[in-house]
Structure formats: C-alpha cells, structure tokens
C-alpha cells in the first residue's frame, strides 16, 4: 500500500480514522496527503517503505520523537502515528502549514507559481522579504531552532532548502520534514543533497550528525543572505556539465569556498553569481568572517564550524545594526559613513544617527525612530530575542520629542540632564540627550 486513494480511511494508532482528501506533495521517502481527522484538517505523511533502508528502525525513532515532542513550537513535528498496514507501511499526521508561510525554495527563487483554477495556467507571484529586519529575524529563528534541536541531543540529518517555511513579513520560521530527526550519532538511512551536505558526508566517510548539521546550517544561511551557492564559482562552472563525479569533486573531495581568502580558484562569476558578488560587498566583516571560517577551516575540521549560539549572537548584532534612514535607504551600519566612532551618516542624504553603547559589547547601536532592542540585549540571563525591550519613539504628547520607551516588564533607571538617575517604570519613557545613561540592571548603556 505505497499510495493512498482519495477518500480512503487510515486508522491511527491510538484510535480514530483519518480520511484522505487530496495529495499535497511527494518526496523521496513517500507522499504527503491532506486528511480529515477529528473534524479538522491535517497533513498525513505516508511512507513508501520500499525506498527506505531501515523502515523498522525508522518507525521506532519516529515513535520516540513523537513521545519526546518538539524542542519548541517552530517545528512542524509528527503528532500521531497511523496503524501499520499489513504489508508494514505506515505514516504519521502533523499540523498543516499555516497560512502566510512561504517555502524556502520559493524565497530563493524570489517567486512562486500559483495555478489559476479556471485556466490551469501557472502565474508567477513575487516572494520577497518585506523588510531587512524580517529577513535577519528569519535567520535568527532558523539558527535558534537548530540550537534548540541540538540541545535536545538530536540532529536534523537532511538539512536542505525543502526544510523550512518562512513568513516574509515577520521572519517567523517553521521547520518541516522533521521525520529524519534522530538522536545524535544515529542514522536511519537518509542520504542527502550535495551542496547542503557536509563534504565528509558527500565523500561517504561520516554519517549525518550534529557537526554535519552545522555545515548544512551554514549553507542554508549563506543561501538565504547571499542568494547563491557557497561552493559554486569559476572552478565549478568551468565543468559545464554537472555529472555525478563533478559533484563528488566540487562538494566533497575538493570543495573550495568562493571567497576563500587563500584560494582564488573558485571566485563567483559575473553574469552567473551576481547576487553573491553584490551581497559580499554589503555584509559587515564579522558576518563574512564567520562564513569564511565555516567554509575554509570548517570544511576539513568539523570542530571549527560556527556553533549555533555564535551565529545567534552575530545575527542579533546584525539586526541591531540595521538603519532605516529617513530618505528610504535601509542598510546595515557598515554601509553607512562613520564620521566619528559614535555617529553614522547616510551616504545618500547625509542624515546622521547617534548611537547607544552598551556595557557588555564593543559595537554601538544606531538610533532611529522605530528602532528596537530586545530583552536578550539588556539582560545577560535572557535568551528572548523576539521580545522587544525598548523602542525609540516620538512622545505622543510632545511632537518632535524623541525618546526611548521601556517596553520590558522591569524598572530601569535613566540619567536626566540634571545629572540625577530617575526610575523608569515599564510603559514609561525618557528623552534621548547627549549625556544619556541607562541602567538596565546588570547591563548599562550610554549615548
């Protein structure tokens, strides 16, 4: 029973039946169907066990994953197993992808195809992040979800562009295809996709594990930010035809990063890799350095790969360095002129931005109307990178007066021009002035 029929009912392990409504899609291991169960719609993944190497072990692992539950709500996690059919085939149901999320594949393509139900014609629709903050937030969410997964002692194994859904308006992320997730060190037969797989997996000398996940994660992040393949440059393009052996060479035996500082043999080619060339000019050095490390020393030495926590810190910093200028230009602080160490200036319109320095970090945060900082940035014990702690706002009662609003749930203290620190309760604010100092508790900040 490798395929299910529309209308067919499938019994679930703990009772109840799911009725097949339609096909959602099919992949290497089976098919995903839209089903109705308990009056609600779900997705049912049904396996083609002939294509699986170790179906029994796979099922056992799936069962323990269901028992453990997801590391957090960013995972479209298996919910209930079906009963095993007589021939041993099985499946599981999970939540449907909510509205408003696009696949990573569509984001990389910058469009998706929507079929007009009347004409049957496919129409292209743009898929683009609507703000730079949303894009960097998506990156932080991806990194964080793998951090949580790895902390739970599991590895994703088959990390590739089919593994995520992203909300391009908010940067919210859903990790899907969670059925190959396994305790670190185990593998139930999943191969992978060259380009995303760590070179040692491509070469067949290591099975997927947490370290190889880290390599794949770096590829996913590179593709999302630089919109190209980190290993596809001149050396690869010269081969013209990508045969099996050239893939083994370029992604396994002799993988060379396109911006390897010590090996210029595989630079991006203008006309083919324009995205990578352009974005490499835009991102600040600390981001580029992290990718250089991942794809040079990290190729041969898995322990040199960037750990998720490090990525998370780098991208939280990058998010805090986004400047939305009044002239409409939005970019990272590194793409603004720095007339002095405490000021950024827009190269296009000349507008200047004062900055806030925090006691726990060396870089400064540019201030502009609407900019935010987050709980994890003012409280060393907090990991809440989505919870806004403060925002630069205009005083509603005094137009033109700009200040910082305390959006956190703790009291801060801020120094006013009279030299005295005053309590700033949650929901209250204080003006930005040249001598401003803020005491968040363990972390302090000043203009």
């Amino acid at each position: 029973m490798t395929e299910l029929e529309i209308g067919q009912e499938v019994e679930l392990e703990f009772g109840g039946k799911a009725q097949v409504l339609s096909v959602i899609g099919s992949g290497g291991q089976g098919t995903v169907y839209l089903v109705r169960f308990n009056g609600q719609k779900w997705a049912l993944k049904w396996y083609d066990i002939d294509k699986m190497k170790k179906p029994k072990e796979f099922l056992k692992n799936l069962r323990s994953n269901i028992a453990d539950g997801p590391p957090d709500n960013k995972f479209l996690w298996p919910k209930y197993l079906t009963k095993e059919a007589e021939d041993g085939t099985f499946g599981y149901i999970m939540d449907l992808k909510p509205e408003g999320f696009d696949s990573f594949v569509d984001i990389l393509n910058t469009y998706k195809l929507e079929v007009d139900p009347l004409t049957g014609r496919a129409v292209k629709k743009d898929v683009k992040f609507n703000s730079l903050t949303a894009m960097i937030t998506a990156v932080i969410n991806i990194v964080n979800s793998f951090r949580l997964l790895h902390r739970a002692g599991k590895s994703y194994q088959d990390l590739n562009d089919g593994g995520f859904f992203i909300n391009v308006n908010t940067g919210a992320v859903l990790v899907c295809d969670c059925d190959n997730i396994a305790p670190d060190g185990s593998n139930f037969g999943i191969g992978g996709k060259p380009g995303y797989m760590a070179p040692e997996v491509v070469r067949g000398i290591t099975q997927p594990n947490v370290q190889t996940d880290k390599y794949s994660l770096a590829v996913v992040l590179f593709k999302l930010l630089f919109r190209g393949d980190p290993m596809e440059g001149e050396k690869v393009v010269r081969d013209v035809c990508l045969t099996e052996s050239s893939e083994l060479k370029h992604y396994g035996q002799n993988a060379v990063f396109v911006y390897d500082p010590n090996n210029a043999s595989n630079r991006p080619v203008r006309g083919i890799h324009d995205n990578v060339i352009k974005f490499w000019r835009i991102y600040p050095d600390y981001i580029k350095d992290a990718f250089i490390r991942s794809f040079t020393t990290g190729i041969s030495d898995p322990t040199k790969r960037i750990i998720e926590n490090e990525w998370q810190k780098l991208f939280i910093r990058l998010r805090s360095e986004i400047i939305m200028c009044g002239c409409g230009r939005t970019n990272f602080a590194s793409m603004f002129v720095q007339p002095n160490e405490k000021t950024f200036k827009c190269p296009k319109c000349g507008m200047e931005f004062v900055t806030l320095g925090f006691s726990n970090r060396s870089y400064r945060m540019p201030l502009f109307l609407g900019c935010k900082f987050y709980e994890c940035e003012i409280n060393p014990e907090s990991e809440e990178f989505m919870k806004v702690a403060g925002e630069l706002v205009e005083n509603k009662l005094k137009p033109g007066v700009i200040g910082i609003k305390n959006c956190s749930d703790r009291k801060w203290r801020a120094k006013m021009p009279d030299g005295v620190f005053y309590d700033i309760a949650p929901g209250k604010g204080f003006p930005v002035w040249q001598g401003l100092e803020i005491d968040f508790g363990q972390i302090k900040a000043q203009i």
């Binding site: 490798t2 190497k53 990573f104 569509d106 990389l108 393509n109 910058t110 195809l113 049957g120 496919a122 992040f129 730079l132 894009m135 562009d161 089919g162 037969g189 191969g191 992978g192 070469r203 067949g204 000398i205 099975q207 997927p208 593709k223 919109r227 393949d229 690869v236 081969d239 013209v240 035809c241 990508l242 045969t243 099996e244 052996s245 083994l248 396994g252 083919i272 324009d274 352009k278 000019r281 835009i282 603004f336 002129v337 720095q338 007339p339 002095n340 000021t343 190269p347 004062v354 005094k398 700009i402 200040g403 006013m416 021009p417 005053y422 204080f430 003006p431 002035w433 040249q434 401003l436």
Partner: protein, 291 residues
C-alpha cells in the same frame, strides 16, 4: 510633573549639542567620508533586492516517432498524456534547477516542435500528427547536432546532464546504427539519462536498449492505458533524478570514489523504472488487437 520638565529640557540640550558636534566634525572628515560614500553607492546596495539564485539547468529531450503506424489511438493517447504531463514535470524543478523541454519528432522527416528548448513553465504542447516512415537514424544525427554548448545546451550557468526519452512503435526504416554511432561520441549523451519506450509489438527492444545503453531503462507499452502510464513514469522519474544532485547512500563504509558514482543516476533510473513498471497493471486491451 517635575520629571517631564526635565525631559523637555533634556531634549533641547541634546539637539543643541548634536548640532554643534556636527559642525565641528564636518570639515576634517568631509573628504574621507565622501570617498567612502561613493564606494557605498556605486552599485545597487539594497540588501533586499536579489535576483533568483542562479539555477542549474536541465533539458529534457523527447524523441517521438510520428510515423504513419502511430496514427489513431496511439497518437491520440500520446498527445493527451503529453499535455497532462507538462504540469507534472513543472513540479519537479527545484529551487536550483530550471527545467526546459525540447521535442524532436521523426517520421519521413525530422522536426523540432520549437526551435529552442522551452522553460517548462512556458511550455505548451503542440498536438502531433502521424504519417510517413521511421527515420530514427536521422533523428539521432539531428539530436547529436543540437546537443552541444553552441546548440541547445547553451545555458550560461551549470547544466545537469540532459534527459533523453525516446518513444517509437516500429523498427527504424533508415540506418539507425550510423546515427547512434555519431551520438555515442557526444559527451552530453554519454552522461545523459537515457530511457526508451516501445509502443506495441513492432517496436524492437534491442534497438531501444542499444540507444539507452541498458535494458533496465527500456519499457514496453501494449495498450493505451499502459502507454499513458509508462510515459508518465519515465518522464517524471527521469526528470526527478535528472534535476537533482546525485542521491548518496551513506552506508558505503568506505570513502566514495569516482567508480562509485560513475553513471549512478542512470543506474538509479533503471532501478526505479523497473520497480514502478513492476507495480503497474496490465489488463486493458493490447494495441495490436481489435483493430
């Protein structure tokens, strides 16, 4: 109240000090920042404006016999299934693969449906008609001529090896061996994924196996239902395998070398076609009976 007064005072002071700071700084740094500013603005610096990732391309070649013997039910079935097939192949192309289709028909003459491979998103099937003899040799020569960097495989970026799918219902009426010999010297053909479908009992599986290089990638359809099924199986499976990077098994236990991956996709295609063909039913009326 007291607090608010202080606040207002503070802002004024902030504005004042900022303005004076700007004036002070303006003169000495002007040159430096102008040069830096030019550097930042001499290209499209919008971090959100990206083009789609550069995609690898895959061309699927359909070589279709339109000789007189294909007339009637066979051609009707073929036209219908090809129309239905296009949307299915559309789903195959992944983020990094652009799938294109080229159709070469052969009867007495050899003819391309379109003068260039067409992206699958824009491809529309032009219904074919049957008449004439089976010039397979001429078709293979024509394929060889176009299957080059200067011909149909001219994508500036990387290409996967093409998929080449031959469908015929009769024995070639010309010297197919001469055509095949030319084609066999073509590297795109060598690395390409080749599959063939024999329609009805006249089609010679040995000729087809010579073309694909192995019997595993040759299947036979004896009825209308089978024809539709086989075309779908072969076209979808081969474009799925062709448009992806090689799938790797991770239980080799030793480092993978050239010999492990050589023609891995063609072998996989053979396996999958045989598996799928084995599963299909064979109970409708044969092509050869009931005429």
């Amino acid at each position: 109240m007291n607090n608010e007064n202080i606040a207002e005072q503070g802002v004024n002071e902030a504005i004042n000090t900022e303005t004076s700071a700007q004036i002070e700084n303006a003169a000495p740094v002007a040159n430096v920042s102008e040069a830096a500013a030019d550097d930042m603005l001499d290209f499209d610096d919008n971090p959100l404006s990206a083009t789609g990732v550069s995609r690898k391309s895959l061309v699927i070649f359909f070589l279709i016999d339109t000789s007189g013997s294909m007339k009637g039910k066979k051609m009707g079935e073929l036209n219908t299934v090809m129309e239905e097939l296009i949307p299915e192949i559309r789903k195959v192309g992944e983020a990094d693969t652009e799938v294109k289709v080229a159709v070469l028909t052969f009867s007495t003459d050899v003819r391309w449906m379109y003068s260039n491979p067409i992206p699958i998103e824009e491809f529309e099937w032009a219904r074919l008609r049957a008449s004439g003899v089976t010039s397979l040799g001429a078709a293979l020569k024509e394929l060889n001529a176009r299957m080059s960097r200067n011909g149909f495989l001219n994508s500036p970026s990387l290409s996967f090896a093409p998929v080449i799918f031959l469908m015929t219902d009769g024995y070639p009426s010309d010297d197919y061996k001469a055509g095949l010999k030319e084609l066999q010297a073509n590297s795109w053909y060598k690395f390409g994924l080749k599959a063939a479908l024999g329609i009805g009992s006249e089609a010679n599986d040995n000729v087809l196996a010579e073309f694909t290089g192995s019997a595993d990638t040759v299947v036979h359809a004896y009825s209308g239902g089978q024809l539709a099924q086989m075309i779908k199986i072969i076209a979808v499976t081969s474009s799925q395998i062709g448009s992806k990077s090689m799938t790797l098994s991770d239980d080799t236990g030793h480092e993978i070398g050239e010999e492990d991956v050589f023609a891995a996709k063609q072998k996989l295609l053979g396996q999958q076609i045989q598996e799928l063909v084995g599963k299909t039913e064979t109970d409708d009326v044969p092509f050869d009976t009931g005429w």
